[in-house]
Point group: C2
Chain length 332, copies 2
DNA sequence: CTGAAAGCGCTAACAG
DNA sequence: CTGTTAGCGCTTTCAG
């Protein structure tokens, strides 16, 4: 691999000049610049990003740390982040924590050590440790889940979406709704539960039925099994994410229940498959792409601003999309 | 941020000793080691990975470059890669090219410049340019799609899977199958088409119906519209990936066609939603997790071996999973 | 406008 | 076993 000195020799200039034309920030005479460019091309020179980062103490790479790559919600966020990052000349490195605090810590460390320019993080829990990043003044924006630190954030109104969904279930004629939500450490899980409970409490004589489980398909079957196996089971389910919903469908089918007749279902997140299952799934859609886009924009602003900005918080709204699974068909 | 010299001062030793205990490769007296560890802890010292990489000329990070994060096939691969990489102490940086050759080139460059230890790449086309990586002797393993270079690879028998699926369609009583496949530059797309054609040619008087389109939901609707809009349309569809299948479902529904009666469908990739749509989707399952696992294993071997290894190629088999969408119900 | 030189923080010979 | 020292490849003062 040719290094900067090789280019300098080839072009008959100093390495400082090569560096200048390659970063085109300072004034270099056109002819010298041309010679340098020709030399670089001829040698197939590529700047060593590591050396550059070491010297500059930062790179043009940002890290996006998410909880689950296989969740369409997060992949949509990823697209949003990538689109704006790319436009600003940044590459995004995606890190998947798999809801594992250990992996989260590892990736946070890797990101710090690799001197990324900034981080967009979907924290495992509100107490995930980002103190080192804060100490290092590393630009950070938190998404999806609340973090107990004063940092930029872009969230979604989970509480309102959950309340709306539950009210919709009740308005559709279901009499005994239950909530299946994620692990209690995740703010999204608890907000969705609280929104559900608020709706339930607006009606008299309703039991407060709910179950916590991992935000996965497997978590969905477990929670559904627990709820549907009760002596007096619910007749409608508000599910906190689309992966769990797939598990619920599995369990519901295993028990021979018919969605729309024996049980009503509505879930958070408008997955690509939602319109195609039987019956089509009613959902609370989150503006996932937008979450990613806004987060990346906040980060870019922070990266290009000299003075420290005060933390900003943006919260987006959900959209209720009623399809069939939440409607109540009277059995014939 | 404290640096190695700070730790050395605090512990009253030289920076070399600090480096040694932190990398615990050489012999250091237990008491000194203990003093160093204590000092590092007290100062909250974190090694600067960039400086280390610059010096070592390599890092403990590998890059996984895939075509589409929102495709469950690739996310399953990702899990496989992560599991084995983590076990060997490597972090994996995921890069999403979105089927865009420009993004692919960018990420290849970033990976090279960031001095990743190795790369697992799902190339856009067989002619993606990896010459720089080869020149730099950067360990590379290619997955999913063929690349015209002698490198490690782990592939899936797309051809056989496609033939088997098509034969199944024919055996189920469908009379006029068509193939919807990806862009012709992708080897998976052409292999699946060829497998389909081989099956078709085993029967007399069958037209060779097929359509190329992007490997996306949108691509699926376009190809389905083209095929189903023909004067003499096909009565069965072999779809080359699960994202396209969602688009097909959309278009089929729009035309008021009933899957299983008016049209039979089978698709590559066993997406999580496949069992839950209506009717349940028959698929050719790919061992995606395994692809990732094997690829990472090949890479790890190459990373830990001094001498250059000859390129190895592993090819895994698909599994036909017959559900309902491919069965032919005679209209009542 | 251009070059010389000083490091960025760390590892790896090489001595002792 | 431990310390000294020379860079890894690049950017950035500081002179000229």
């Amino acid at each position: 691999m040719p290094k900067i000195i090789d280019v300098a020799l080839e072009a008959g200039v100093s390495i400082a000049t090569v560096s200048r034309v390659l970063n085109d920030n300072e004034k270099v005479s056109p002819e010298l610049a041309e010679r340098v460019r020709a030399a670089a091309l001829a040698l197939g020179y590529r700047p060593n990003g590591i050396a550059r980062s070491l010297r500059r103490r930062s790179s043009d790479v940002i890290a996006l740390i998410i909880n689950d790559v296989s969740n369409p919600f997060f992949t949509a966020i990823t697209r949003g982040v990538e689109d704006v990052a790319q436009r600003s000349g940044y590459s995004v490195l995606l890190c998947n924590t798999d809801e594992d605090p250990g992996k989260e810590a590892t990736y946070l460390r890797v990101a710090e050590q690799q001197q990324v320019a900034g981080i967009i993080l979907s924290p495992n829990t509100a107490t995930s440790d980002v103190s080192r990043l804060l100490d290092a003044k590393l630009p950070l924006v938190v998404i999806d889940r609340i973090l107990n630190e004063p940092v930029d954030s872009v969230m979604v109104h989970s509480f309102d979406g959950a309340e709306e969904a539950t009210l919709h279930l009740l308005a559709s004629g279901w009499k005994r709704p239950a909530c299946m939500t994620g692990p209690s450490g995740a703010s999204t899980a608890s907000e969705r539960l609280q929104g559900f409970l608020k709706a339930v409490r607006q009606h008299r004589d309703l039991d407060e039925l709910y179950e916590h489980a991992p935000f996965t398909q497997e978590g969905g079957v477990r929670a559904a099994a627990a709820l549907l196996g009760m002596p007096h089971p619910p007749d409608a389910l508000f599910v906190a994410n689309s992966q769990m919903a797939l598990g619920v469908l599995d369990e519901v089918r295993r028990r021979g229940l018919r969605v729309g007749q024996d049980v009503g279902i509505i879930t958070f997140d408008d997955a690509p498959w939602a319109p195609f299952i039987s019956p089509p799934m009613s959902v609370v859609a989150q503006p996932a792409y937008e979450v990613g886009r806004r987060a990346a924009e906040l980060l870019m602003e922070r990266l290009s601003s000299e003075n420290p900005l005060a933390p900003r918080a943006v919260t987006l709204s959900t959209t209720l999309i009623v399809r069939e699974s939440s409607k109540r068909l009277l059995a014939s």
